[in-house]
């Protein structure tokens, strides 16, 4: 522990906290990107993980419900399988929002690249 409560966090804790904030928004884009065809919660966890995005089910399931409530996703129950599964897919509005989000994302990446890769950056060579 360093001084006081505010300074009590070590390097790793700072990184974890900032990464958590950073991930929160990107996960939504990641989820929307995979829902042009219907998926149920756990299949989405697996797909995202294969592509290097780790999402905890405990985060993803509530997120899916929220996006559905906001009208970005449509859902339907499939009761033909061994257990009933709720499939989510992009709604019409969701598609438009996703396209717009992609553009925004591109521009953020471009701008940030411009910032952190400016000139001879002594910290990053990749």
């Amino acid at each position: 522990m360093l001084l006081g409560v505010d300074n009590g966090m070590n390097e790793q804790e700072h990184i974890d906290k900032l990464m958590q904030e950073l991930r929160r928004g990107t996960i939504t884009i990641g989820v929307l990107s995979q829902l042009s065809s219907p998926q149920y919660g756990y299949s989405l966890v697996t797909i995202l993980e294969e592509k290097g995005i780790r999402v905890e089910p405990g985060t993803l399931y509530p997120l899916l419900r929220r996006l559905e409530k906001q009208g970005l996703l449509d859902s339907s129950w499939d009761t033909n399988e061994a257990r009933p599964r709720k499939y989510y897919v992009l709604s019409e509005m969701g598609k438009k929002v996703y396209e717009q989000l992609c553009e925004e994302w591109e521009s953020i990446v471009k701008s940030l690249d411009g910032l952190i890769k400016k000139g001879d950056n002594k910290y990053g060579d990749d």
Binding site: G41, Y42, P57, Y61, R83, P84, K86
Partner: protein, 334 residues
Amino acid sequence: MEMIDRYIYAVTQKLPHSQREDIAIELRGLIEDMIEERIGDGKITKKVVEEILLELGSPRKMAQKYRGTKKYVIGPELYDPFLIILKIVLLSTAGALGIVFVIQTVINPVEILDHFIGLIVALVTGIPQAVGWITLVFALVEYYGGVKTKELGLEKTWHPSMLSAIPDQKRRIKRSEPIVAIIFYVIVMVLFAFSSNFFGVYVFNESEFREVVPFLNEETFSQYMPFVLLLLAIFIVKECLKLISGKWTMKLVAYTLIINLLGIIVVSLLITGDAFWNPNFMSELIQAGVVAEGSEGYHIGESIWINSTRITVIILLVGLVWDTIEGLIKARKK
């Protein structure tokens, strides 16, 4: 597996009824998917289930994620004033009970042990009551305050032009004013709750206490007491609102007006009646040997007594009226 049922129950318990069933099915599907992924066609063991539930996290946190928003009895905005008022009231309650103990000991020094036990009992029963009432008032402010901001949609339609001016020094309410008022009301409340006899002329005989000649009518006061206590409690609420607001606003003036009107009505009804003041005050003073009947001192005492009861009423009424007018004047200042 029973553990899974318990987990799902624990999560859905904390969610609105309308969503419970849906989320329960979804969660069960998720857990079964996770188990299947881990063990394939193997046998389900307690250990695997435990691992998966640990991964999902505590039911409380899971439910929180589903709810999205946090719910408060007393939210972050009211938490600080809540703590301040809690401290003030607790300290002044304890202080007032201390005063009661001292007075009781002065009046009857022999039973000091009984008074002390009474003090402890009063602390043990009184402090939770004070905490309970304050929490109730704040919870109500939180509940109704919260609903209003949502209904009015203040957050969505906000515009910089709506920013209210930083309150003029004259519009501000000094924190010390409501704090002192609350302390005063609490002490008076506690003294009243114990005995109306504490308010009176203390008669000493060669530095030894003899008796109190009470100002108030002991026989009828027990009927009045609930109203007096309730009124004081409402006044404390008024001071709390001032402390929370920190500045005079029209809304605060409205609340003050209502409470003060109520106060004026109650005070007028109670104090102006004959039965409120001790009808035998002067004769009891004579019996106590403070004044002799027919002497000059007696006449002076009598006129002071008659006038002071009237003056008390007038001061109380003027104070309440002024409190409202002052608020109105300050609230209008830009």
